[in-house]
Symmetry: C2
Subunit: 358 residues, 2 copies
């Protein structure tokens, strides 16, 4: 099966194991137009209307003094680290080697903000308290919860607390990369404000699991957020109207947050099914969130054949892409509304139908 | 009348002289959801779907090799000047003292991109060819067409051509700040691609006269646009889905561009009416576009009283704000759909009803 044939089979599927149900641009725009939050007055450059309402709600939810709605996490995080660096008079920031800023932003932290990074630990696992202890001076520490590029791993609460405490003792600020923060609530089993209590600044994403339009929020002390608004304008992110972001975000919070534990529980069941199959393993083996990476002892071509065949026959897409990995290939899977609508029994049956010919 | 009372009277108006008709966030989102362009597939980080379709159309319209849809003009213009500066190995850019980059972006060109500016000419008039001739080396020249902060003034075609030719002879690139470029077509009476033919890069805005959601496009040579995409990601502007911007932009182009000459003609009539009144003058006296600044020999408080009183009685808002100016106050007026729907006779009557007590 060619890549194009695989994509055709995927598009023809009515169901999928990963992601939320597919919606067209029209459906997504209609959902926002239908939202009661669209009844609010418009904002003027992010000031007033529903944007201000949501910012207050986000600040409250995370127990911070203030919050600001932004177009993207890329913008929000560079801004956070820049402000902490300026205040400390120290251009060095510390984060994991797979940090979004290191891998996906064309080194903007260096090119736009003149920051330098200390990369903590190894690419295939969480960094440790000991590794942080051995690290020289940094103005801020970024911790991604959960850590996407290693399948959504999370440090234990004790390890996390010790890490943040150590960073603070060294005089640094702490920032949480919460691109998928919503998804780690069941693991820590605490309200969001307690989970992020020891972080000085918090970024959360408004799409991904929330299913909304792109957007983000940054929360933290009032003077920090006031400064972040200036940097947001500098970045070109202070749009004349930001209501579409805010309306979409809140609609997603309303509909998806109550289901997070279900997504996580389902991911756990799916991981068990996958790890029981020969030549397949998940990272982590027991996912603490609704996401995981899946490794196959077969090539991407072999997996496209196997998964494409099930898709063509059963109209259900098990995995949507495969990237070559050292001993075969890998994919990423996250459980949302689409996976919730498949019984675990049906998932097991579909997985067992894959004829993987390495 | 207090400022709050004025705003109350303004909000209660069904008609206005300036701007397009007021629409709620819900109406604006519904318009986009209803657009046929929402039927296209979604884009993936700005690639594919209607975003790619629109980028090709914008490139064609402006006669450039390529174009990229961006969240804002602030982002687009910093990126353009940064690329030209990097290529020239010269951090200096040249623009007018009222340039958006100088006045409204918290000096991002310096703080994010390490650029320095030469300010050309005086704040209250267009810069001249002679002033550019006297200027030392710069990597790019930014020309805003029309120039918003001086009421939408435009250089003659001959002056503009001479300016761009001089910049090119000096080895610099030329960039057009087209925040309101759509509006200058009737004055130059040429297709858009001819108006911008001598510019190396073009920024246009997707809201303002187009009435859409915030968004912008940058057009230029293919290798320049490829580089701009990298900088857009660095800025945090490469959103996971950019279809709302593109759909809204094209809907605005379809509905508003055919009316630009009507807006401009109406603005000309309104300027004549205003300049015939004692103590009122427009800048420019004969607006080449659909916008103008209006100066009153009366305080902002006196104008709020006069305009608020007409608004309360006639349910038509003549001007929406007043800022103190040396000999009284000033406002900005641009004619869109709302002004087109008022007969010139009615505008004259409403203006004559203002009882300005200085």
């Amino acid at each position: 099966m060619t890549r194009d044939e695989f994509l055709q089979a995927a598009i023809a599927c009515a169901e999928s194991l990963g992601d939320h149900h597919r919606r067209t641009p029209k459906q997504r725009l209609q959902e926002i137009a239908d939202s009661p939050y669209a009844e609010h007055a418009r904002d003027h450059y992010g000031s007033g209307g529903f944007v201000t309402v949501l910012e207050a709600e986000i600040a409250e939810l995370f127990g911070k003094e203030a919050a600001v709605v932004m177009p993207s996490g890329t913008m929000a995080q560079q801004i956070a680290l820049r402000i902490w660096a300026d205040r400390a008079g120290n251009r060095t920031v510390a984060f994991h080697p797979t940090c979004h800023l290191e891998k996906h932003e064309h080194m903007a932290y260096r090119e736009l903000h003149g920051l330098e990074a200390i990369l903590l630990g190894e690419s295939d696992r969480l960094f440790t308290l000991a590794e942080l202890e051995a690290t020289k001076s940094y103005s801020s520490l970024l911790v991604e919860l959960p850590q996407r590029e290693i399948g959504g791993q999370l440090p234990s609460w004790e390890e996390l607390s010790a890490i943040l405490s150590l960073a603070h003792k060294s005089g640094a600020k702490t920032h949480v990369d919460g691109a998928r923060l919503w998804e780690c609530q069941p693991f820590y089993a605490k309200p969001y404000r307690e989970i992020v209590a020891d972080f000085d600044s918090v970024y959360v994403s408004f799409y991904k699991v929330l299913g909304g339009l792109p957007g983000a929020a940054l929360a933290g002390p009032a003077d920090f957020i006031a400064e972040a608004r200036i940097w947001m304008r500098r970045h070109g992110g202070n749009l004349a109207n930001m209501f579409p972001i805010a309306i979409s975000a809140k609609a997603g919070m309303d509909s998806k947050l109550p289901r997070i534990s279900k997504y996580v529980a389902k991911a756990s069941e799916v991981a068990r099914l996958l790890n029981a199959l020969p030549g397949i393993r998940t990272v982590p083996v027991e996912p603490p969130t609704n996401m995981m990476h899946v490794y196959f002892d077969a090539s991407a071509a072999a997996m496209m054949d196997a998964v494409g065949d099930v898709a063509a026959r059963e109209k259900c897409l098990l995995f949507s892409w495969f990237a070559e990995a050292p001993s075969g290939c890998r994919t990423e899977l996250w459980i949302g509304d689409a996976g919730l609508d498949l019984s675990t029994e049906r998932v097991g049956k579909l997985l067992s139908q894959m004829r993987i010919v390495p």
